[in-house]
């Protein structure tokens, strides 16, 4: 019971430790400001803040000592942190005695020397604090290595997903490495990298390829969460069901690492939906229905990227732009009938997004054949409506080359049989509407 109170109090150390820091900073700031005549009246406050810092530092040291008793820390850093912490408390106390008027020591030493010593105290504090931070967060936490570290890009397709780098590694990193790392090494186990995982720890092999029962890591994370040996310990967040599934799959499939593609592994199909949702690739929540994934049916030439300003330009010109799909960006563009807008006026803005336009409706807008030569650029167009325009057979010449086109509406135009013959050359065009045109 007594030990529990100690442990509990020890855990307050990271909280209390900030008090002496704050007080000392105020003392330094006040001390320096007091050189300015306007702030001279701050001078007497330095002494009292220093006293507070001293008391807080003693408390922090006591609580810190209690925390160190739990024995979870790197001994070398711990020793120097303990030493510098106690030293700081002592020096602050001495300095406080110097600063109080009773002994009148300060004036003997001179103001400037006093201030320099005070700043020196600040430096000692910074060192102590850094040691403490290294204990909790690890030495790499605030190093230049972190600053220049380049994280692996999120995979964009399932083909890019690597089993260790994208799946197992990140799971270990988020759930295990806080304790099982080079400078903490709980249970003599380090899970920071693939090569280290193989070495195992105090309880034996963490992972045995193809053998779940002998893999200590898997046994520990799948124990009942009340079990003494359950990992992660101390109520830290456990692995999710999906994460356990991934680790299980990885061990069963040989626990390989270093640039092994997920899709190259055996039985990967079974777990693929879990993987896709884990790395955020799944396009649909609907995994039970075997609807062919839409992307496989879509035309890969449609750009996924578009300049926002171009869509706005179309709208400002009075065109109706409907977004049919956002990935890739498919547009359905309509020029409302009898709009009074001439096609050549809007051709430049249309051409800017020509590859994104999948459906285009230009019916009843006094369009002439020559206006339509821009259509050659609409490589991904699937449906076009040109009905109720004074166009002739010449228009079909601009359409026949469009590989994706499947429906052309030429109702109530001046086309003849000839247009149908021209368009018949494109096998993709399934329907040509020519109702009330001149061809009959």
């Amino acid at each position: 019971m007594l030990l529990d109170i100690f442990t509990f109090s020890g855990r307050l150390h990271p909280l209390i430790v900030h008090l002496p820091i704050g007080f000392l900073i105020i003392a330094i700031v006040f001390d320096i400001l007091s050189y300015i005549p306007k702030y001279q009246n701050l001078k007497p406050a330095v002494s009292i803040t220093l006293f507070l810092s001293f008391i807080a530092a003693i408390l922090a040291s006591v609580f810190g000592y209690l925390l160190s008793l739990t024995g979870e820390y790197d001994l070398n850093i711990l020793e120097s942190h303990k030493f510098s912490g106690i030293l700081f408390a002592l020096l602050t106390g001495i300095y406080w005695l110097v600063s109080i008027d009773t002994f009148n020591l300060r004036s003997k030493m001179g103001n400037r020397l006093n201030s320099v010593l005070l700043i020196g105290l600040g430096v000692l504090l910074a060192f102590t604090g850094h040691q403490g931070a290294s204990l909790t967060h690890g030495q790499e936490y605030l190093s230049f290595k972190v600053l220049t570290y380049k994280s692996r890009n999120k995979p964009k397709t399932i083909n890019e997903v690597l089993i260790y780098e994208d799946l197992v590694g990140p799971i270990l990193k988020s759930k295990c490495v806080q304790c099982h790392r080079a400078d903490k090494m709980k249970g003599d186990l380090n899970l920071e990298s693939f090569s280290e995982v193989g070495k195992g720890g105090k309880s034996g092999h963490a992972v045995v390829a193809g053998n779940l029962e002998k893999s200590e890591l898997f046994r520990r994370v799948t124990l009942d969460s009340d079990h003494k040996e359950f990992m992660p310990s101390d109520g830290k967040p456990a692995l999710t069901k999906d994460e356990v599934e991934i680790v299980k799959f990885w061990i069963n499939a040989g626990a390989s690492g270093d640039n092994v593609q997920f899709i190259s592994m055996k039985d990967h199909q079974r777990i693929r939906p879990v993987i896709e949702s884990y790395v955020g690739l799944s396009s649909s929540s609907n995994k039970l229905e075997a609807i062919p994934s839409d992307s496989s049916l879509l035309n890969p030439d449609i750009p996924t990227d578009i300049n926002m300003a171009d869509i706005n330009a179309l709208r400002e010109k009075g065109l109706k732009v409907r977004i049919m799909l956002n990935k890739p960006l498919m547009l359905d563009v309509t020029l409302r009938s009898n709009s009074g807008i001439k096609l050549p006026e809007i051709s430049p803005v249309l051409l800017k997004v020509s590859k994104n336009i999948i459906w285009l409706n230009l019916s009843e807008n006094e369009i002439a054949d020559t206006d339509l030569n821009i259509l050659k650029e609409f490589h991904n167009l699937e449906k076009i409506r040109l009905d109720k325009n004074p166009i002739t057979d010449q228009a079909s010449e601009f359409l026949v080359g469009l590989k994706k086109l499947n429906a052309v509406n030429l109702n109530e135009t001046n086309i003849t049989e000839k247009s149908l013959n021209i368009l018949a050359k494109n096998p993709n065009i399934k329907t040509v509407y020519s109702w009330n045109s001149k061809h009959k």
């Binding site: 649909s284 300003a309 498919m330 009905d387 109702n411 329907t431 509407y433 109702w435």
Partner: protein, 503 residues
């Protein structure tokens, strides 16, 4: 008149500037916290989407980016518009599309228990001492390239069988009219959920800001034996601007749209501008979404003052069109006239047009009743398909025909030499779909020789709804609306896209 209000509202005059510039504690917290929220949100969405080619950010482009991010089509859509011909009352599948020649030999025999499988019957026929089976009184013939069997009661529909996809294995859970229609329209038997058209309006928005997104037309030339409640095209918990707007057949197709007597309407726009400013003040004070609805509906009504008379005017239609739709088509409010009007609305890119034709509830005197129903609807229905097809609109319009359930193989009431009735039967019935993204000229699903149970490819009401949404580009599992702590869907927790009927 407007000169009184040159500077918006008096409250914003110079003398009020000091007052208006004051920011009280509450304002401060609201504004700063929203700012922080927006920052957080910005960093969540920022750069993810259009990292390249980012132009100078204007309000319009960031709205657009949001639009694209939210852009609902989860799937490349096939249908841009939907027209749903609802045959209310439960048309008999046995006299229309589900041809069961073996029944002729079973005339008058009791329905075998092995077929009924202990199914509960309605209170209307449960007390009958016998359940005598009765074949269709009318003949069936094969039509079109697909050689589809269609009843002689539907001579015009017979001509379009190669354009439609018959689904003979639809089944429902409800056995009485109102719950069954409510189930079809809203995905739940109890009232209160949004109708299909409201979901589409909410999910996909409008393609024509001058007309409502969801328009309802009810035939006047149909027996009104079972009521149709306006909640069937209600918005449920969705904002009320998504509710269906019913167009009537009289002098005013949309009520209260015309200017009141003695008012010339010249300053209507100005009046509406001030009104929306007032409403916006209310909105910012109370944040009630119904105020937004009110603002947008006032503006919509104003635009409809010109757009509705224009779309209702059929004087430009050539005689040939009226001949196509049949003699009723010149009489506004009939099913035929509504079919013609539906075509005109679809031409204007109205997203969802729903027709209702009542009177298919033939518990008795079925032969004469259903003949009359078919006569009123067969030609206009076929005409709508033909008209949409020749205009190229069937390319991206989905057409649906069907009722809320089917009818029993046994006769309800007395079976005589030339008369019988049929009770409600939700276990199997026929619907058809045509147009955008649907395989034409096929039949899907099969029933047993009694048209009592489904033997192949059942299609539940939720499956039908999932398929409808799929064709418009919506994943039915992802179109949700959170209400009272729960996310609701049209298909609730069920529904499976019938991919076999998709092109």
């Amino acid at each position: 008149m407007g000169h009184h209000h040159e500077k918006d509202f008096r409250l914003h005059g110079e003398e009020f500037d000091p007052l208006n510039n004051k920011m009280d504690r509450r304002d401060f917290f609201i504004k700063t916290s929203m700012g922080i929220g927006a920052l957080a949100l910005g960093s969540l969405f920022g750069n993810k989407f259009f990292a390249k080619n980012r132009p100078a950010v204007s309000a319009a482009t960031s709205d657009l980016e949001n639009e694209i991010l939210r852009a609902l089509p989860h799937i490349a859509p096939k249908a841009k518009r939907v027209v749903y011909l609802f045959m209310s009352g439960g048309p008999s599948q046995l006299e229309t599309f589900d041809y069961k020649p073996k029944l002729v030999n079973l005339l008058g025999q009791d329905l075998p228990d092995s077929v009924r499988q202990g199914q509960r019957l309605t209170g209307m026929s449960a007390n009958q001492s016998t359940l005598p089976m009765v074949p269709s009184f009318c003949k069936f013939h094969q039509h079109g390239k697909s050689q589809t069997w269609v009843s002689d009661l539907l001579p015009f529909t017979s001509k379009i069988v190669d354009d439609i996809c018959l689904v003979k294995s639809v089944h429902s859970e409800a056995i009485n009219h109102d719950p069954a229609i409510t189930f079809f329209q809203t995905g739940n038997q109890l009232p209160g959920r949004p109708s299909i058209g409201s979901w589409l309006s909410y999910g996909l928005g409008s393609d024509n800001e001058n007309l409502p997104t969801f328009i309802v037309l009810v035939s006047k030339n149909a027996p009104k034996d079972q009521p149709l409640y306006a909640r069937l095209w209600g918005n449920g918990f969705l904002p009320s601007k998504h509710q269906g707007v019913q167009f009537g057949s009289g002098k005013d197709p949309v009520l209260f749209l015309n200017n009141p007597e003695g008012y010339d309407g010249e300053d209507r726009q100005e009046m509406l501008d001030y009104l929306s400013k007032l409403n916006e003040m209310q909105e910012s004070a109370y944040g009630d979404p119904e105020i937004d609805t009110r603002i947008s509906q006032y503006e919509m009504a104003y635009r409809m003052q010109t757009s509705v008379p224009e779309v209702m005017d059929v004087s430009d239609e050539p005689e040939e069109v009226f001949e196509l739709y049949g003699p009723d088509s010149k009489d506004p409010g009939t099913y035929a006239a509504n079919c013609l009007l539906a075509r005109k609305l679809l031409e204007k890119d109205v997203k969802f047009v729903q027709l209702y034709h009542q009177g298919w509830d033939q518990h008795n005197s079925l032969p004469s009743g259903i003949a009359q129903q078919c006569k009123a609807t067969d030609q206009p229905t076929a005409a709508l398909i033909m008209d949409l097809k020749r205009r190229g609109l069937l390319e991206d319009t989905l057409v649906i025909w069907g009722g809320e359930f089917g009818r029993t193989v046994y006769s309800q009431g007395k079976l005589t030499a030339n008369d019988y009735g049929r009770d409600h039967h939700p276990r199997c019935f026929t619907m058809w779909l045509a147009g955008a993204g649907v395989k034409p000229g096929i039949s899907f699903g099969e029933t047993d020789d009694f048209s009592y149970n489904i033997v192949k490819d059942p299609v539940h009401v939720h499956d039908f709804q999932a398929t409808l949404l799929h064709l418009t580009g919506i994943d039915h599992e992802r179109l949700t609306y959170k209400f009272q702590g729960r996310r609701f869907r049209l298909t609730d927790v069920e529904g499976k896209v019938v991919k076999e009927i998709l092109t």
